[in-house]
């Protein structure tokens, strides 16, 4: 149980900021994989005609931006002493403040929001957020991830 209590000391821990470029190939594969057919998500001209800078990404695309930094997931598991084989993705939430388009260069910053033990310590829920901001520092999107760890 000592490990579990030590985990709570890391609430609020933040990792260094990182840059992420919204690449065309990724955005198009993401949309095609989901069988999206509306041109605003696939063709630059259609997106521009609809008032966007370039191809618009779908509402859950930020997961691709976060997955580019899978090293941060492993860093978190190590910091909190969580076993990857005992982790499940419990829930996911995105909060959008501005549209995300192909070619956008954003800055992400990840931190631990909460760590909570449930079911008498059998489970630990770890909530993290990655905030994405534009060059002016304005908030673009929040990626809230909740993982559950089955404690040994």
């Amino acid at each position: 149980m000592a490990d579990i209590h030590a985990r709570h000391d890391h609430i609020g821990h933040a990792w260094p900021a990182f840059e992420v470029l919204v690449e065309r190939t990724m955005a198009l594969n993401f949309a095609r994989g989901l069988d999206e057919t509306r041109p605003v998500y696939l063709e630059r001209d259609a997106a521009v005609a609809a008032g966007f800078r370039d191809v618009l990404t779908l509402p859950t695309f930020p997961i691709a931006m976060s997955t580019e930094r899978v090293d941060l997931i492993f860093a978190m598991l190590e910091l909190l002493r969580l076993d990857p084989a005992r982790i499940l993705h419990a829930s996911q939430r995105f909060v959008h403040h501005q549209p995300i388009c192909v070619g956008d260069l954003l800055t992400g910053r990840k931190r631990v929001v909460s760590i909570a033990d449930r079911k008498g310590g059998a489970l630990t829920f770890v909530d993290t957020v990655i905030e994405y901001r534009d060059a002016a520092g304005a908030l673009v999107c929040e990626d809230h991830c909740s993982l559950v760890h089955r404690n040994p």
Binding site: E36, Y41, L56
Partner: protein
């Protein structure tokens, strides 16, 4: 579209058969390269599953499509999903949304929508909620 009212339903989205090709495209688009999604040998021998499973985030992606098709491009303000069960490849998802409440907002309304995704046998795969700015 008529202004949304509590209890009204969104046009449902049937994913169609989620082929291995679609899962492979999604893998490249999402960056989630876990072999359990694309390598059936791995799924059987290492994970003890009958076949590959679709990314959990794929179901959430379908919710995103459902909502954006309804509210329009850029209308989804928040989208949240809880993952309930694994979905094997070559299955289909039925995604449904129901308006729970409507609040005034600039140039339109914010609709709070409850979401659920079920496979063809009725098993719940994912549920969730969203806030959509309908203009």
């Amino acid at each position: 579209m008529n202004p949304p009212t509590p209890g009204s339903t969104l046009p449902p989205l049937d994913s169609g058969i989620i082929t291995r090709h679609r899962v492979a495209l999604y893998m490249h688009g999402s960056g989630d390269t876990n072999p359990i999604h694309v390598d059936s040998d791995f799924a059987r021998e290492k994970a003890g599953l009958p076949d590959c499973i679709v990314h959990g985030m794929y179901s959430m992606g379908m919710f995103g499509r459902l909502l954006a098709a309804w509210g329009g491009p850029g209308s989804v303000q928040t989208i949240e999903t809880r993952f309930a069960a694994m979905l094997p490849v070559k299955e289909r998802l039925l995604c449904e949304g129901v308006v729970e409440s409507v609040d005034p907002a600039e140039g339109g309304v914010i609709a709070t929508v409850a979401l659920k995704a079920t496979r063809s046998d009725g098993t719940l795969i994912a549920s969730g909620s969203a806030r959509v700015h309908v203009r």
